[in-house]
């Protein structure tokens, strides 16, 4: 082993320029690998931060009402389907609050009254999602306060805070009054107190925040709540906390991951395409090392023949070439990962960026994996050339 390492390094240093080029080529592949890892990881952090930062981590709401069986008729079922008009509400909501607040990892609990409706301004009509909430809670889930583009976020009885997209489509500004009509056909006249822009189209284009007391009138729900929205101190615990809340309250509790199947799907797809690119980078590394070593076995054919004649075994020849591959892989891996780390370091973590910059996360460069995979790939790449070298016929190589 010692001696094959000596021969392998001598071979590599004897053709210094070529070896260097090979190592740099490998390093470039590793750099791509590291960069892709950091980018995909960073994008995930950014997306989760942007999305999950503005939504509840767990939603606690009344259980789905099962269809009620009306009458047992042989061969047929007669049932009342879920009414889409009448939302189920938590009638004795206040009783659940201390239970939810006492659940581990829960940091914020906000009660909401939800409903649908329309806003009308002259000829313009827009469908809206009405959220009735205590004035103090308006920024507890989505940070409405710091997303304000006009007015204030204070929820008084006759004011509404609405999304910027909605304001635009209705052509209204702060201080203007319009009519809001709920799904229960109750109408109110309200004044726009503030306009916000979260950057999430679904919210910006339809959300109307009202003081909960105004919302009770509008939605004809004198008591109870539609749901509690919960924020956690640890995002990743959402599913287990939801489980916990279900057990403690008997209510339906849904984690953000399960509310946002699309987000999760998007993240998975992103990770998969990242893996594909990383896979290609590895394949390129393997092909590069294999072809360089194969070329070297050709060039050193007669030397290999001499070594065999002098009593070097086939295994020895294999070891010499596999070690060359391993050295190239390790050197290229460390160089590429090192350069990757250094070039990623200046980028602030994605959750700290205010947007605009490249969302790479240097903590997610997967440096160890990059080096280990490159080393493994390099060793795999050298097996065929090494085998070829070990099969060289000393008589042919020595020549007449």
């Amino acid at each position: 082993m010692l001696y094959s390492i000596k021969i392998a390094t001598r071979y590599l240093t004897a053709t210094r320029g070529q070896s260097l080029l090979l190592v740099v080529g490998v390093a470039v592949g590793v750099y791509v690998f590291v960069f892709m890892s950091a980018l995909i990881g960073g994008l995930a952090v950014l997306l989760i931060d942007r999305t999950v930062g503005s939504i509840a981590h767990v939603i606690v709401e009344p259980p789905d009402r099962n269809p009620v069986l009306l009458q047992e008729v042989p061969g047929a079922l007669l049932a009342v389907l879920k009414s889409s008009q009448q939302r189920p509400t938590l009638q004795s909501a206040a009783a659940y609050l201390p239970v939810i607040e006492a659940t581990p990892h829960v940091s914020v609990v906000v009660g909401k009254l939800l409903g649908n409706g329309f806003m009308v301004k002259g000829e313009a009509v827009a469908p809206v999602q009405i959220t009735g909430i205590e004035d103090k809670d308006i920024s507890a889930i989505a940070d409405i306060d710091s997303s304000l583009v006009a007015g204030s976020s204070e929820l008084m009885l006759g004011t509404a805070v609405i999304g910027s997209g909605l304001a635009e489509s209705l052509g209204v500004g702060v201080g203007q009054s319009l009519v809001i009509r709920s799904e229960r056909n109750v109408e109110q006249s309200i004044t726009i107190g503030g306009i916000f822009e979260l950057g999430l189209a679904a919210i910006d284009e339809a959300a109307v925040y009202l003081n909960i007391r105004a919302a009770r009138v509008l939605l004809a729900l004198p008591e109870g709540l539609s749901r509690y929205e919960v924020k956690l101190d640890d995002l990743q615990q959402a599913r287990s906390v939801a489980e916990d809340l279900r057990a403690r309250t008997g209510l339906k509790a849904t984690a953000w991951q399960d509310q946002n199947a699309q987000l999760l799907e998007g993240l998975t797809a992103q990770a998969r395409s990242g893996d594909l690119i990383k896979g290609f980078a590895l394949v390129t590394i393997i092909i590069g090392i294999a072809s360089a070593l194969l070329l070297s076995t050709y060039r050193r054919q007669s030397e290999i023949g001499i070594m065999r004649a002098m009593g070097a075994s086939r295994g020895f020849v294999v070891t010499v070439f596999v070690i060359q591959g391993a050295i190239v892989g390790l050197a290229g891996g460390v160089l590429g990962a090192g350069l990757g780390f250094l070039s990623l370091l200046p980028f602030p973590p994605p959750e700290m960026t205010s947007g605009g910059g490249l969302p790479v996360d240097y903590r997610q460069g997967a440096y160890g994996a990059a080096i280990a995979l490159t080393l493994a790939g390099a060793i795999a790449a050298s097996i065929w050339p090494a085998y070829t070298a070990s099969r060289i016929d000393p008589v042919k190589a020595i020549g007449p």
Partner: protein, 230 residues
């Protein structure tokens, strides 16, 4: 003498496939060489000298017949067994000197021992140094092989062939590529080693002058031994 012969060859044939046809290059060779003999192998080009030496050196397998070196049958043995056998018992000197160009003279000489032990031992370094001294190249010890002249390279090759103190050295036209002076020097070296160490030599050559300095001359013609003189 009761001693086991260095080389014992019976009914040796070797065929080469040439496209569709098979060419018989060795056509029943009988040969016995005693330990410590210095033998010249003569004959026209294409008579089969190199083929015979390669078979004796376990670098090539015979088509039929028996080949024994130091009493060991080498027909049908595994590659690893043959490799180990030639590492311990057989030295080679080729016409085209064939050193490892990226290694120093000393490292080249040491190679057979390093390949055997898996590392360069101090004792082997000392012996290699001594051998280089013996072939008159102690001042070139740390030169890369690629920096040596033809005659110097061949002397390094001679030193290398002796590294593991083999009983048999096979030299295929060792002076073929050298000028008169270098050729004489290399030949004298082989003769000296033979008389001082008792190493057996089989030296193929076209040069009658060189052959005349050996104890025995074997003439090959058309794949057979045509004459055997002492």
């Amino acid at each position: 003498m009761n001693e086991v012969p260095l080389v014992e060859v019976r009914d040796l044939t070797k065929d080469y496939a040439e496209g569709e046809n098979v060419a018989r290059v060795l056509k029943g060779v009988q040969l016995t060489v005693a330990q410590g003999e210095l033998v010249a192998l003569l004959g026209p080009s294409g008579s089969g000298k190199s083929t015979l030496l390669n078979i004796l050196g376990t670098l090539m397998r015979p088509t039929s017949g028996s080949v024994r070196v130091l009493g060991q049958s080498l027909v049908g043995a595994e590659d690893l067994v043959l490799t180990e056998f030639r590492n311990r018992h057989i030295g080679f000197v080729f016409q085209a000197h064939l050193l490892l160009p990226d290694f120093t003279a000393l490292e080249n000489v040491m190679f057979p021992a390093a390949a055997r032990h898996g590392r360069e031992r101090h004792t082997d370094r000392a012996r290699a140094s001594e051998l280089l001294d013996r072939v008159g190249l102690s001042d070139r010890r740390d030169y890369l092989a690629s920096q040596l002249s033809g005659g110097q390279k061949q002397r390094v090759a001679v030193a290398r062939s002796l590294m593991n103190a083999p009983e048999l050295v096979l030299a295929d036209e060792p002076t073929g590529n050298l000028d008169r002076e270098s050729a004489d020097r290399v030949m004298q070296l082989l003769i000296d080693i033979n008389s001082s160490d008792g190493t057996g030599f089989l030296i193929s050559t076209h040069d009658e002058n060189i052959a005349a300095r050996c104890q025995r001359q074997i003439y090959m013609a058309d794949g057979r031994i045509a004459d055997d003189r002492r």
